[in-house]
């Protein structure tokens, strides 16, 4: 239920071990890599002066980035060819992944194996190319359909040369405007959106001149087959038959590779898995710095995984390897630690909606639990119905298990449950409020109390938002904003003073003398205006303003207006929760009335079914968005920045989650 704590791991080892250590790092899959050079430059990587560290300390002064990138394209090609003739999907199988293998030897073997099937592969490729060529003929010849001309005859005229060419629309216009000077007969046979297909007859004796003119129009010659007799339609038929034949032959060739498939396929999968691993290893190495004989590797690791990774590396490498772990807080500069969220199963799916707004910063409280609870609460309150909630729940489960979108499906199904819960409170099943008694309230009969409860709910949520904000500002040790800022202590006091003032004006519940109220409000506002000079004065800084004072006060002045407006609008905004609860009932009443007007029982039932579909689809969507809006705008703007970096460890994809 929080942002996971990170530590920095620094590994210094012999260059001979670099391959193995990088592989172990990827296989472990928990290290978020840091660029070693910038890390060393920014944080003055310090080693305790001891005998073990002498060499590392010497080499630190002269380090270079690791370059020497491997080229995987050759082996990728080979594996692709294997996948093609064996008809298997490329996939990583974790049982083949290990740090003990010889990359060069492995792929030499694969290349040798490829030689045995090379002939089949190349044969298939050749046939595929031939099919493409035939298809191109079919496309080209289609422009001459309905002409009734014998293509071969056309191509073998004695004095005239026939050409089918493609020009851009603009260039065809140029040709047309200068018809009288063009030494051949041209006409457009087909006009596509951007191009024109043109047939051209040229006397053979002046073909060269015409060629030059066409060249200057950037023509593309469309080839036609010479081997076939007949008009366009007949040739197309023959070509299609030929393509069928070729396709069958390809299938036959693939069948002949079946024996190889049996003996090679596990090896191909192994090679593919290791190639994927090797690619990640290269990525790890690209972040590493190297000295004369040593390498330097840095990364963030979640605290819980630290022992596991340092132990495996220690066991598997030279005994001189140096592994140092360091607190994140000690860092002077450089990249902020990445954020890995840890939430229980109930809240986990909501991380999706959080990251749509931004990833939490490392030193920020994880807003997911509060977000999840309040989001379910808001949605349910606006869309409370046992039956419709059940439909949403089932829909969510369908998305989760059938469409395999577990986060989104998870959110939807949780919202469905919340909707059912509120349906129980409101006593509503598919809009009908007469079947069961509500446990709490019927919205339509108590409009005022529903709206007032909505505002009270809003005040409660905003209060929690302030708590989060104060805690975050404290975490950041931001004195200025935390004490005097709009989301800090003074802002919070202002919020309550304003609220009590309005309350005492509107009701008799409490008495709050007006002069006192206004003095207090004015005082708090003034403190917010002068927050920066005040904070700097108290901290004893010489410089009171970080920008020209003129600019500062203009900004602060507008800040006041915004503070006033946003407090009022944020609170009032929550009325929508009540309004949509009413709206939900209202929409059903409209359909129920229509059902009554239809007259027949069957017709009425149909109208109600349609009504429920509309309510679930349309209103469900609106309420989903409105709740999101309340969260993002009214609440997140208070306490959440979302400037964090997501945690992306180096690991082989698809191997484990």
């Amino acid at each position: 239920m929080a942002v996971e704590k990170m530590k920095i791991i620094s590994i210094v080892g012999k260059r001979d071990d670099l391959d193995k250590v990088s592989r172990l790092v990827v296989l472990n899959g928990n290290v978020h890599m840091l660029n070693a050079l910038s890390e060393i430059n920014a944080n003055y990587f310090e080693l305790e002066a001891s005998e073990d560290h002498i060499q590392a300390m010497q080499e630190l002064s002269d380090i270079k980035p690791y370059i020497n990138r491997k080229d995987f394209s050759k082996y990728e090609e080979i594996l692709k060819a294997f996948h093609k003739i064996f008809d298997i999907n490329p996939s990583v199988n974790s049982k083949y992944l290990s740090s003990e293998y010889d990359y060069e030897k492995l792929f030499e073997e694969i290349a040798q194996k490829y030689d045995t099937v090379r002939e089949i592969c190349e044969g298939i490729d050749k046939k595929l190319a031939y099919i493409n060529k035939l298809q191109e003929y079919i496309d080209n010849i289609s422009y001459l359909k309905h002409t009734g001309l014998d293509i071969r005859q056309l191509m073998s005229l004695e004095y005239m040369d026939f050409q089918l060419i493609m020009l851009s629309k603009e260039n065809f216009l140029k040709l047309k405007l200068n018809y009288e000077n063009i030494p051949s007969a041209v006409f457009q046979v087909y006009a596509a959106e951007d191009n024109s297909i043109v047939a051209a007859f040229t006397p053979k004796s002046i073909k060269e001149d015409t060629e030059r003119i066409f060249e200057s129009l950037n023509y593309k010659s469309l080839e036609l087959p010479l081997e076939y007799k007949g008009i366009a339609e007949e040739i197309t038929g023959q070509l299609s038959k030929e393509i069928e034949r070729e396709k069958q032959e390809i299938a036959g060739m693939k069948a002949s590779a079946a024996d190889y498939k049996k003996s090679y396929s596990s090896e191909v999968i192994r090679a593919y898995s290791l190639l994927e691993l090797e690619k990640k290893v290269e990525h790890v190495k690209s972040e590493v710095a190297i000295g004369q004989q040593l390498f330097f590797l840095f990364g963030f690791v979640p605290v819980g995984k630290l022992d596991e990774i340092s132990n495996t590396i220690r066991q598997n490498s030279d005994k001189d390897i140096i592994i140092i772990t360091e607190e994140v807080e000690k860092r002077r500069a450089g990249h902020a630690p990445p954020t890995k969220l840890k939430n229980n199963r109930l809240f986990k799916p909501f991380e999706l909606l959080i990251s749509m707004y931004g990833t939490p910063s490392y030193n920020e409280a994880d807003p997911t639990p509060f977000f999840a609870l309040s989001y379910m609460l808001l949605f349910g309150a606006m869309f409370g119905d046992i039956g419709q909630g059940l439909v949403i729940l089932l829909g969510g489960l369908f998305i989760k298990y059938k469409l395999r979108s577990s986060d989104f499906g998870g959110i939807i199904s949780r919202l469905g449950v919340s909707s059912m819960f509120f349906g129980l409170l409101y006593g509503s099943i598919f809009g009908n409020e007469h079947i069961i008694h509500g446990l709490w309230i019927k919205p339509m009969d108590n409009i005022n109390s529903v709206l007032i409860s909505a505002i009270i709910l809003g005040v409660v949520l905003i209060n929690i938002g302030y708590m989060f904000s104060l805690s975050n500002l404290y975490q950041r040790r931001d004195f200025e904003e935390g004490v005097f800022g709009r989301e800090g202590i003074v802002g919070y006091l202002f919020f309550w003073t304003l609220l009590l003032t309005v309350l005492s004006k509107a009701t008799d519940a409490i008495v709050f003398p007006m002069p006192l109220a206004f003095t207090l409000l004015g005082l708090l506002l003034m403190i917010m205006v002068f927050k920066q000079p005040l904070a700097n004065k108290i901290k004893g800084h010489k410089v009171l303003y970080e920008e020209p004072p003129g600019d500062y006060y203009i900004e602060a002045g507008f800040g006041i207006i915004e503070t006033l407006l946003s407090i009022l609008s944020n609170v009032i905004s929550f009325i929508r929760v009540g309004a949509f609860a009413l709206n939900h009932v209202g929409l059903y009443i409209a359909f129920a009335t229509m059902a009554k007007m239809v007259g027949s029982a069957v017709g009425g039932f149909v109208v109600l079914v349609i009504g429920n579909i509309v309510i679930i689809g349309l209103e469900g969507l609106i309420v989903f968005i409105q709740s999101l809006r309340l969260e993002y705008y009214e609440l997140f703007s208070k306490y959440y920045t979302g400037y964090g970096i997501p945690y992306k460890p180096a690991r082989v994809d698809g191997e484990r989650s």
Partner: protein, 351 residues
């Protein structure tokens, strides 16, 4: 959206950005300098280039790096403008990048064709800016067809692929011509999606530029290349302002250079062709200077239109070219008053 609402904000932004273009005074100062280093020094201390130049190590400074930085500054400013546009307008402004990318690409193609070392072209900042291609593949090219394949997936590719398809031998000339002309096709196809007023203004401005380029092309075609008139005509830009298609066609079919001069003298652009032997040397500058002043006029006349943006981008380009001209003059040790003749703007000596 009508033009007033569209351009109120953009034009204000451009007005302030124009404020950071070099002033007359700056050019006078720059013309007095006698080394690339002192030009760098001046630009860094006294002009809007200071920020972008502060990243340049003066130790490693030479003409190429300075040029690349100046162009980087163009991108920086054009990107700023692009943020003010959306939809088809945004895409239209990005077609300007196609123009500059084509310029650089032609230089690289020439180097590849002549088997030169490509190292000094590696900081061509516009490459990939419009086409979005992977520059590594381009710089690995060994011949023209490799260049074309490196553009696979981009808009340029569709225009260039007939060159490979027709299996004709390597042809640098056609490569360059196709790119140049396809730019105008792309431009026209994109501006067709803008508002009517803007199309009118663009046809005017771009038509004027096309007039001048067409004249220059036909002149060179007749004088140096001795080209077939049909081919000459096909390679003209189909945009007109003061010269219509008929005139252009007549010019292309002129049997001799004398005939061409006679006809050209009757057009509004007779100033390009002077009888004093300066025609070839100054043609390009005369043409650019004419565009420069005509655009200044147009901005005054059609303020609330795309012309402010169009002109600003060209002024940026002219500024870069003028600075480069000054640097070049230093290399050939031209005195200031001689050097200023090769600049696009006219420099007024102020007391």
């Amino acid at each position: 959206m009508d033009n007033i609402t569209r351009y109120a904000a953009i034009n204000t932004k451009i007005k302030t950005m124009e404020g950071s273009l070099l002033k007359n005074q700056d050019y006078i100062k720059l013309l007095e300098k006698d080394s690339v280093a002192s030009i760098y020094e001046y630009l860094k201390e006294h002009t809007a280039y200071s920020e972008i130049l502060s990243d340049v190590d003066p130790e490693k400074l030479h003409r190429g790096t300075l040029e690349a930085v100046l162009k980087q500054n163009m991108i920086y400013n054009i990107d700023k403008i692009i943020h003010f546009y959306s939809g088809e307008y945004k895409r239209f402004i990005t077609t300007f990048y196609a123009k500059y990318e084509i310029d650089e690409l032609k230089k690289i193609a020439r180097a590849i064709f002549n088997k030169e070392d490509l190292q000094k072209y590696k900081n061509s900042v516009f490459i990939g800016k419009y086409s979005g291609i992977d520059t590594n593949k381009l710089f690995d090219a060994k011949q023209i067809s490799d260049i074309i394949y490196s553009f696979e997936g981009s808009e340029f590719y569709n225009y260039l692929i007939p060159l490979v398809d027709n299996n004709i031998e390597e042809n640098l000339f056609r490569f360059e011509m196709i790119l140049d002309l396809s730019y105008y096709t792309m431009l026209k196809r994109q501006w067709a999606k803008l508002s009517k007023q803007d199309i009118k203004v663009l046809e005017h401005a771009q038509g004027l530029i096309a007039d001048l380029l067409n004249l220059q092309w036909i002149y060179r075609g007749i004088k140096f290349y001795k080209m077939q008139p049909e081919v000459l005509l096909n390679y003209t830009i189909h945009l007109w302002h003061r010269l219509n298609y008929g005139t252009i066609k007549k010019l292309c079919y002129c049997p001799s250079l004398e005939e061409f001069f006679k006809l050209a003298q009757q057009t509004k652009y007779s100033f390009l062709f002077k009888n004093d032997g300066t025609t070839d040397i100054f043609m390009e500058r005369r043409l650019d200077r004419h565009i420069y002043f005509e655009l200044k006029n147009m901005v005054r006349t059609y303020g609330m239109s795309i012309i402010t943006t169009f002109a600003y981008i060209l002024f940026l380009e002219f500024e870069v070219r003028d600075i480069i001209a000054i640097i070049e003059a230093i290399r050939y040790k031209l005195p200031a008053n001689e050097a200023s003749k090769y600049m696009i703007r006219t420099i007024r000596e102020e007391a």
